[in-house]
Amino acid sequence: MSSADGAAAAIQPALIVHGGAVSAASYASDARRKAVNAAALAGWEILQGNGSALDAAEAAVRSMEDNPVLEAGTGCMLNELGQVELDAAIMHGRTLECGAVAGVANVKNPISLARKVMEKTSHCLIVGRGANVFADRQGIATVPLEELVSESALKEFRALNGNYQNGCNDFFNPRTVEEAHDTVGAVAIDKHGDMVAATSTGGNAAKLVGRVGDSPLVGVGLYSDNSTGCVSCTGHGESIIKVHLASRISMYMEEGISPDEATRKALLYMQERTGYGAGAIAMDKEGKVGINFTTKYMAWAYITEGKLQHGMLHKESFTEIA
């Protein structure tokens, strides 16, 4: 993927989104492609209007949270008791400031709550009941469970009947093909060169109450540093944690490796050390991009001046005029 022309040129705003990296046949739907494209356009509208990477990344993720086709916010998977517990995080590359929530109940847009953690507190991560208390104080309403639960999430919950490990093996292992659902994320760069990464998820189906995956953990599910690049990951959360995937990709980029090669190398490393698959999107400070996955699918869209590129299967990339 090409970068902006020459060091002296103005920085080209850009945004990449992903709608989860999984290996399930049912995942590969047209509705999912449309969902990520719509999210990319939502973020792009802000960048085009000279908006910040922060606003753009949040808008893109909110769009995916509100879309029941994807598994963040509305449409998220349920824990083993049939409850909704959401995780989200956002990180600003200029200051390395970040905000995250985990295990928050029934909030429509956890990414916006994560942003409040970053902007209104001196903390990086607030979990559980405390996150809901914080949401109340910030005037962020809790919605009834029914508003967030989709048909397919309920179906998944019933089918798995609490069997989390089977779900994992099916979802993330490229050798098997079953139902699967995951995280959404975005990385953005604005005209000032500020880079932001954001992730949001309801976690995996039938997870233990209080289970937190990679998404809200800075350095694990996401990372952003203006001097290096921005990264958002998706896939088998526990394995992503073990190899600190996002900061690994960031470290490779710091060594001068391109985002494409950095994501590829890190994902292979994860596969070797843990046996599980994942996906990652990354951008470096020159605007070069990396979009790779070791699961069967990852719906993604990349938008910058003049073009929208998107895909879902390996080696697939469609380009449209933006």
Binding site: V133, V209, I241, K242
Partner: protein, 316 residues
Amino acid sequence: MPGAVVLVHGGAGKIPKANNDVDNQARLYGVKSAATAAYEALLAGASAVDAAETAVRCLEDFPVFNAGVGSRLNLAGEVEMDAAIMDGRGLRAGAVGAVKNVKNPVSLARKIMDLTPHVLLVGEGASQFAQESGVQLVPMQELITEKSRRALAQVKSLPFGIDPKAEEEEEEHGTVGAAVMDTAGNLATSISTGGISGKHVGRVGDSPIIGGGIYCDNMVGAAVATGQGESIIRTCLANNIIQLMSTGMAPQQAGDSALETMRQRVSGLAGVIVLDRHGNSGICCNTGHMSWAQLKDNELSWGLSADDRNTEEISL
């Protein structure tokens, strides 16, 4: 084949005022006891993971440390604890965030690692799992000390409330931790904390974030941090140290370098104990104060700061 090594710390903070000599002696006693208990376990054939758990359990049980008994209180006056354990073999890990009423959170982290397909459990879910897993539960009052109450009262009296750099600016001593190598050469790390006085309910710091406050990989080394949690998270301190060691840098230099990077990028201060896969250690701290103890080759070392190095031969 390197022999057993145990390295523990009792938390990094500002140099305490002179009249806290009693506390300093208590901290030294605590870290030496914890290191000794873990080392004896290793010599008796325990695994690195067992010894790492043993060391931090000791520190959690000493009220002078900000972990388990003696944990600092959140804004609502409650004890909410974070802990984690990591096994260098296979990168296995277990962690808890904002758990209540557990006497030894590091043992709960171990149960999560050994008994569930997950790494991190938080809040109510962590407490529920604690009940099911059989770890010892205690009334919250048993974990609260007069010192913790006073520390909270002090924070509440500040005009703007909690300061993000509080953990190393006030007389707060943070997270406890251990890095261990067993007689087979396996590495393990453990970490536990009550967090910052007056933190928001549900605030989780760096301790249960794998790659932030803790990391361990048999192929490279181990690192455990203490200090300003948000700064550690934002700069992925443990990851950075492991990365530097993977390029061949010695543990002491890797720790010092990573701490300096953190200080430059986000103005945060911290301490960290480091082991490489050959059993070489690093004791690093730029906050001014960190109680620590190391046992290696029947030699016990200890100090109240990274520069304070005392040694004695022991026979076990």
